[in-house]
Symmetry: C2
């Protein structure tokens, strides 16, 4: 009798689990923050097509690879990349140890908040700032620095932590894809070690599914303890042509879905979509000055120009933030 | 009534699934090809410790990362690396298109089977052979070439396909780890694109969990079609100090278990084990001339010397192929 009760209890427990899974799958709307329209329909049609067993366009779960850009696609990238905000804060924090920076560009510009001089220092200046702020420590030390900064910093316009300035519709899309057997990856121009400390918690994407730019690291024994030292030297820039190269190198499968927002994502979308089988390319268009930002063809950050021109012929969906998204950000947690 | 029957059927189906899963988990011996002894006990103790919820040494599933070397750890690497056999065969296959190779070293040596001249060409000659055989095509063309070769080639001593010359005890260990929530990765000095076409089928390790050496690839549009071209230039050598660097870059988490067989795996084992928390390092010692090969301290391929000296103090398990493995290879499939 006890055994029967135990068995019945077990069965009920299993049915309960199934009911939970079922309610997630069968929820009326997997993308509640997306307004009804062409973009939302195209995404749902695509997912239905590649997951319908026996259908012409069925894709086995193992090949359901989806790649997402990060800056401007999953989170805010204006008025400047979050990682640049981190680099500038870090330079300010390190300044007491570097009195020479007071007279040395581009550091002087940062310390004096001289945006004109900062811009005049160009790409070379930018790389100096990145190296001074991102190298010279072990990988584990850097992870703590990045994690502490992201936990304690706020966006200048929205006055919220950067990790809350992620797009609610994209969080839903990531979850919807995973519920349908997709493996979701980030493929970003941002530094991989700047993203990994928080992507799992914020996006549900574990470190090993984050692909990004890297600086050179070097294995060493410090007092017999193995460490990886971050050297002030670029290893790989994961942008434009670099994105398909990195996808091939890190993931080793071609995505069937790629999501981006700028010309930096153009080659990733080409690589994902311009081949046989059902594919989907998605571009987020920032046209919402009221709720976020409006920028695109002329922006120095997140320029969307050539990819926008190619989208109609390529069949890529252009998502209007203004029209297609009911909500932009998740509700504040505090 | 029909609905009730359907529901009962559904419940039975679910119980059936559970029973199947249960029988796998509760099998008497998860490592039947391992003889009882210190090595087997150490592995099982380790897995028990890190998977026991509430235990002092519990590790959350997400952090159960295990990295495996390939050549000599998961499959045979003697009398020479399988990838070298591939390169030599490929040079022979391409020779008709390259009449100049008949007079040009190291190609002449390959075509004339002149092992002395081949060895005399050294690392420089080897790299020439690798580049001539591995570059100059798209990534997708190379995948087909590698896949065709591996499906049609046999090992000179065992006269079996290379993919059957994988170690049965390691196949069991990989499955046992995955059954216990581990994510299994390959971290090999071999070319990543030489391994990925077959690792999922043979080891159950998908392409995105294979880390290896890479050559430079370049994104291009060929008649409007995006391709990745393999250039005759090394990108990254995933060996020795390169292994922890690659683990950090590709996986972004530190393994808690690392398995290798040579000094090329030394730094990977140091990186995985010489830190806080319960960790395990494993070295396979090839001491079985009868069933496989016996080599180690003086071998040019798979040298195991320094790592063997460090093993006792580091607490790494040295697995004797002769004593610890009941079976070496899986049964032939044909």
């Amino acid at each position: 009798m006890a055994r029967l009760i135990e068995r019945v209890g077990y069965t009920i427990a299993i049915l309960g689990l199934c009911a939970t899974a079922w309610s997630v799958q069968a929820a009326d709307d997997p993308l509640p923050s997306w307004n009804e329209g062409a973009a939302k329909s195209a995404i749902i049609d695509f997912v239905d097509a590649v997951t319908t067993e026996g259908g012409d366009e069925y894709v086995a779960p193992a090949d359901r690879i989806a790649t997402f850009d990060n800056d401007g696609t999953l989170w805010v990238e204006q008025p400047y990349y979050t990682q640049l905000a981190f680099a500038l804060d870090r330079i300010r924090a390190l300044a007491p140890e570097h009195p020479e920076w007071r007279e040395q560009q581009p550091f002087k510009a940062v310390l004096e908040n001289d945006l004109a001089a900062l811009e005049a220092s160009g790409m070379k200046g930018l790389m100096q700032l990145v190296m001074a702020s991102h190298a010279g420590m072990t990988t584990e030390e850097f992870a703590i620095i990045a994690e502490d900064w992201i936990a304690s910093s706020e966006h200048p316009k929205f006055a919220r932590p950067y990790t809350e300035l992620v797009y609610q519709p994209m969080l839903e899309l990531l979850a919807y894809l995973r519920d349908n057997g997709f493996k979701t990856f980030i493929v970003s121009g941002g530094g991989v070690e700047f993203m990994r400390p928080w992507t799992e918690q914020v996006y549900g994407i574990p470190p090993e599914q984050v692909v990004g730019s890297t600086i050179v690291t070097e294995f060493a024994l410090q007092d017999g303890v193995p460490v990886l030292l971050r050297r002030p030297e670029m290893d790989f820039l994961d942008d434009k042509e670099g994105k398909p190269v990195a996808i091939n190198k890190f993931i080793g499968r071609r995505p069937i879905l790629a999501v981006g927002n700028s010309d930096g994502d153009l080659q990733m979308l080409q690589w994902a979509t311009e081949t046989d089988g059902r594919r989907l390319g998605v571009l987020v268009h920032h046209d919402d000055a009221e709720r976020e930002y409006a920028y695109g063809r002329d922006s120095s950050i997140g320029r969307l120009d050539q990819a926008l021109d190619l989208a109609p012929d390529a069949g890529w969906i252009v998502v209007s933030m203004k029209d297609d998204w009911r909500t932009v950000f998740p509700e504040a947690t505090k």
